[in-house]
Every structure is written in structure tokens, then in C-alpha cells.
Symmetry: C2
Subunit: 230 residues, 2 copies
DNA sequence: TCAAAAGTGTTCGCTATACACCCATGG
DNA sequence: CCATGGGTGTATAGCGAACACTTTTGA
């Protein structure tokens, strides 16, 4: 502990990136948590995260964390808040730049990380290490607000999906209920959906049509500036 | 440079808070800038900001900056993004937690700070130091989005104001134009405005009614959850 | 008397919402 | 034949957008 190689005239906080990784299984919104293997909070569940390297941006750091945990390297990821309470880490002053990521559950392979990782639905989240409860709650709020400006939901769905799944997703994110017919009408009216030829046997008795996200149309709309009404 | 008193096993970035301070003069949205007195970027205009103290949160740091520059200690202030590009400060690695503040121009006394400070309208902003151009642009975008969830505009207006001023403000923030009658209709319909008895001679020829923000009603609506449509 | 600002209402079209019946399938 | 899930259409109400004339007053 005598070999502290990095010295400054003024005290500097440590900086980490944390990542709230959201996934969707067709009915429920889920979050990936890691069981901590070391103190502090050993054995508790926590958000994936780690120290920012000196030559990477927070965005790159968060992507790195995400890849370590999920093997994904092209996910949607967005910084939403930086948490700075002086006492939030018992070891030293640590501020964390928090992100949320949206991933397709189907594409997630287990992470490299030896760490214990598990997906939790939003209503079975255990108490978390540090101030991660608060970070998670705020991630949910920010995602909920974001959906009014970007069709973020499509980042969570597979290539093709059913209208029912899309509605489940919006309902899970916004925590509201929509009328089935009105929801479909509105979604089609936005023009962001393409109907495919394919059907899928969704459950015991019925098959349903598969949809696809119209990215070209979205990019076009984004140019002009638009709002998603929900 | 030998007396570096603060040492760590791993390199730590320096952390600052920067503050985009918005004001409104009845017609135009303005931003408070500081002329830098020291290198780097000496003589250039920049956002007010400074190093985060080890015992304060970013919010407290931003409030402190704000008070130094404007003498205000109760303004609306909100963190919106943390900028982390490794090269953004030529001296050392500095990340900055950026905030925007909304203040009432009438209440701003000159700051304590000896620094040269000036209000600029949004279309006369000079090139700024560091990456502050980018920070300012993003502040504007975030404020624009925020107004869909909170009636932030009232933070920028005096206690009483005219419908014209309110409309000017919304038009300045959103960079759009509204029909005068439809705008008034919509605002009254939200129920967030109280008509006062008073009139004011706003300009050459005519007097107009003064309005007041209905904070109780707003708090009530916020409880239930609501959206501001624009 | 002209120019500038403010006050005021109506119409039209669209969208949001509420709502019910039919069909196909598997058990 | 029953239960489940998916598909489909209509009627109503409310909101958003477009739009013009009158009044006041100071220059």
C-alpha cells in the first residue's frame, strides 16, 4: 500500500460506469444482475460495472462492461445519470456514470465473466449493493421517458415479433394497459411496422402474424423530427 | 510540482461540474458565459464550472457554481449529461458532469466572481472553450425534451407574466411557432395558469393581462402523472 | 389615420377511446 | 363443445390546427 503510483495536487474521486441491462422475454421486462464475489457487499446482487479506464469514454467503458457480461458488442446503450453521493461506496469516493442498455435476450450468450449473473423480472429484484436500487429505479424512469422520443422498444425485441409481444413490452415499460385494438391501430399508423408473410404458433391454440421493425422509415421520420405519442 | 499530496493505486480523472445557465428576458432565451482569465483557452468564453469538492454531490457543486455567478441559491438545476472524452481538457483527464439551470433574469444580481460574465442570446453565442459548444447544444436539446414532462418554462419567468411572454418562451425553447389563440387556449386548458387582476403596459400601445403559475395545481397533476403535449 | 398589439370563436379533420362479435384451434 | 387467443370495425368525444376581424392607443 505504499506504492501508490498516481499522485495529484488535489483529491480525485474514482470513476466507474454501471450498466442497467434490460431484456425482454416476450412478456416481462428483465434486468441482468451480478452476484458480488468480493467485499464490499460480497454475496449481494449488484449492477454490472467497473472502473473507467483512462483512455476510454464512459460510453466505451459501459460497452466493455456489457460485452463482458453478455457477449454483445452492438447493443443500444445510453448514459442517463451520474451518481455522486460522497458516501455511496464505503472504500473511497466513487462516482458512477450510469447507463442503461437494451439487449435482445435471444442473442445473449453467457458472459465471459466468472461472476454469477442472473436475469430478474422487475418485480422480483432483491435488495441491491451500494445505491444500485436507486440507480435501477432511475433507469426505469429514464427509459420510460425516452420511449416518447425513440422507439426504443424495438431494441429489446427479436428481428420478428408479434403484436402481442410488442404490446406487452410497451405495457411493461410504461406500466399501463392498452386496449388491444387501439394499440395495434396506433402502431400501424406510425408506419414503423412491416407485416411479414410468416405466422408463428405463439401458444396452445392459435398462430399469429410476425412483424418486423421498419428501420428505414424510422430514420426518415427522425430526420424530420417527430414524437411518439403514448 | 513535487508536492502531490493525493495518491492512488490507479489513475483517477479529475471531476468538474459545468453549468449551462439559461435565462429569459421576455423575448429571447439567453445563456450566461464567462470569459476565461487563465489558460488554457484564456480570453475565450466558457460555461461556468469548477472542480467538484470531495464532500459535495454534483448537484451541490453545480449550485455552488451557480451561486458564485448569479448570487442565486434556489434555482432549478438539473444534471443532464457527463462528458468524458479523454482529450477534452488539455491539462489532464477531466470529466465534467454537466447541468443546466433555469433562472429568473430579474433576480440575478452580478456574481461574486471577479470573472467577466455576460448573457448571450442563443444565436449570438461565440465559439467556446473546451467542448463547451457541444455541452451547450446538448443542454438545449435536453431542455427541449424536458419541457414535455415538466412545465420548466415557469422557472424562467417572473412571478407574473403575460401570455405573449409565455408563448415567446415556449417558442424559443422548442424553436417552433404557435398560433396565438391556440396557444392560449391550450395553456388555459392545462389549468396551470391563474389570471390576476393586474394589467401591464407591455409595449408601445396596449396593455395586457398578467398571469401567474398555479403551483398547487401542478403538484396535484404531478401526483397523478401527466404529460404536457406540445 | 396608420401601425402595432391584444382580445375573441368557429369550423374541420383527426385521433383517442370505448366497445363486441366472430373464427380457428386444441383439448 | 368449450376455452383461449387472435382478428377485425364503428361510433363518439375531444383536441389540434387553421383562420379574421375588431378594439385600443400612441405616433
Amino acid at each position: 500500500m505504499e506504492t501508490k503510483k498516481y499522485s495529484y495536487d488535489y483529491p480525485h474521486p474514482a470513476v466507474t460506469t454501471d450498466c442497467v441491462i434490460f431484456g425482454f422475454d416476450g412478456s416481462d421486462l428483465k434486468v441482468l444482475l451480478i452476484e458480488r464475489g468480493i467485499e464490499p457487499f460480497k454475496g449481494k446482487w449488484a449492477l454490472p460495472g467497473g472502473f473507467l479506464k483512462m483512455d476510454e469514454t464512459a460510453h466505451e467503458g459501459a460497452l466493455r462492461e456489457l460485452e463482458e457480461e453478455t457477449g454483445m458488442n452492438n447493443a443500444y446503450i445510453r448514459q442517463f445519470h451520474t451518481f455522486t453521493e460522497p458516501g455511496r461506496d464505503p472504500r473511497e469516493r466513487v462516482i458512477t456514470i450510469a447507463h442503461y442498455a437494451l439487449v435482445r435476450l435471444q442473442e445473449v450468450k453467457g458472459g465471459d465473466d466468472a461472476a454469477q449473473a442472473r436475469w430478474f423480472t422487475m418485480d422480483e429484484i432483491p435488495p441491491l449493493a451500494f445505491d444500485h436500487d436507486r440507480i435501477l429505479r432511475m433507469a426505469q424512469i429514464m427509459l420510460r421517458e425516452r420511449i416518447h422520443f425513440e422507439p426504443v422498444g424495438f431494441e429489446l425485441l427479436p428481428e420478428t415479433f408479434t403484436m402481442k409481444q410488442l404490446q406487452n413490452l410497451y405495457e411493461a415499460i410504461l406500466d399501463v394497459h392498452f386496449d388491444r385494438r387501439n394499440f395495434a391501430k396506433k402502431m400501424f399508423h406510425l408506419g414503423l411496422l412491416i407485416q411479414t408473410e410468416d405466422m408463428v404458433r405463439t401458444s396452445p391454440k392459435r398462430e399469429s402474424q410476425l412483424l418486423r421493425f421498419n428501420k428505414e422509415k424510422y430514420d426518415e421520420l427522425k430526420q424530420k423530427g417527430f414524437r411518439l405519442e403514448f
